[in-house]
Symmetry: C2
Subunit: 160 residues, 2 copies
Amino acid sequence: MQLTPIGTIRSPFPSEEGMPIQPSGAWNAVGEVVVDAAYAEGLADVEGFSHIILLYWFHRVEGYSLTVRPFLEERSRGLFATRAPRRPNPIGLSVVQLIERRDTVLRIRGVDVVDGTPLLDIKPYVPAFDAPEKARAGWLEGKAERSETWTADDRFVEKT
Amino acid sequence: MQLTPIGTIRSPFPSEEGMPIQPSGAWNAVGEVVVDAAYAEGLADVEGFSHIILLYWFHRVEGYSLTVRPFLEERSRGLFATRAPRRPNPIGLSVVQLIERRDTVLRIRGVDVVDGTPLLDIKPYVPAFDAPEKARAGWLEGKAERSETWTADDRFVEKT
């Protein structure tokens, strides 16, 4: 199980420090997905989708912790109940808005990754597949909506 | 970028043949996510979420095609505008309903993978992160909803 980057995600964030995380009513960071030319043909029809799912490699983390203490939380949580990047397989997932495609470059809104992040896959976001009708967000219920005040440092939390 | 399975997904489907794919009003296949004991601590708090995102390895495919012709479609589509499994990085993504957790076993509903699929990651499904308000599903608009009549063979399409 070996991965090969298929491109790079460009964002306004040179590092995790101060990088906002999704979602935020106020926050609309625009970035680019730059896909390697070898995969150009595979991008046909992507522009029909308003949103895409990016899978990428958390290239700046090492190791993982099975418990993490999220920002502003008093108690620690199991890693798989969080979106923290230090995971056994450090694959990140973001749903972003697709603004436009220019050849092998996708302009996106809602980018919450560090500039230069290696891209692993692009999947079309399909509500019928990806959006269950009623979902309960566990310990994040009612908190995720307020995440405009969070920054990505908060996801890069220490083991408790 | 090396991956390590953290568990196995058990499903009623020994092979792709006849396996339904998400979503389906009528279809409610129940399966299990069996997480390796080494990662047990990381599952704390997962049970608070009604839905989880599974990342897994399409272990039965080899190679990839940059264009695919989906089931019942006359024209081929770019790979990254489809959910076909033969991808440069064959990572699958499914949003499933979490029925219950028993220690390191998660009972799930809506499983659309082959029995024995290697699990790579579990992430909590968080509507505020993962469900954009208005999404347009490109060539799949209005078709994905009818996918109860599809089976997974249809995703395993030949290069056109």
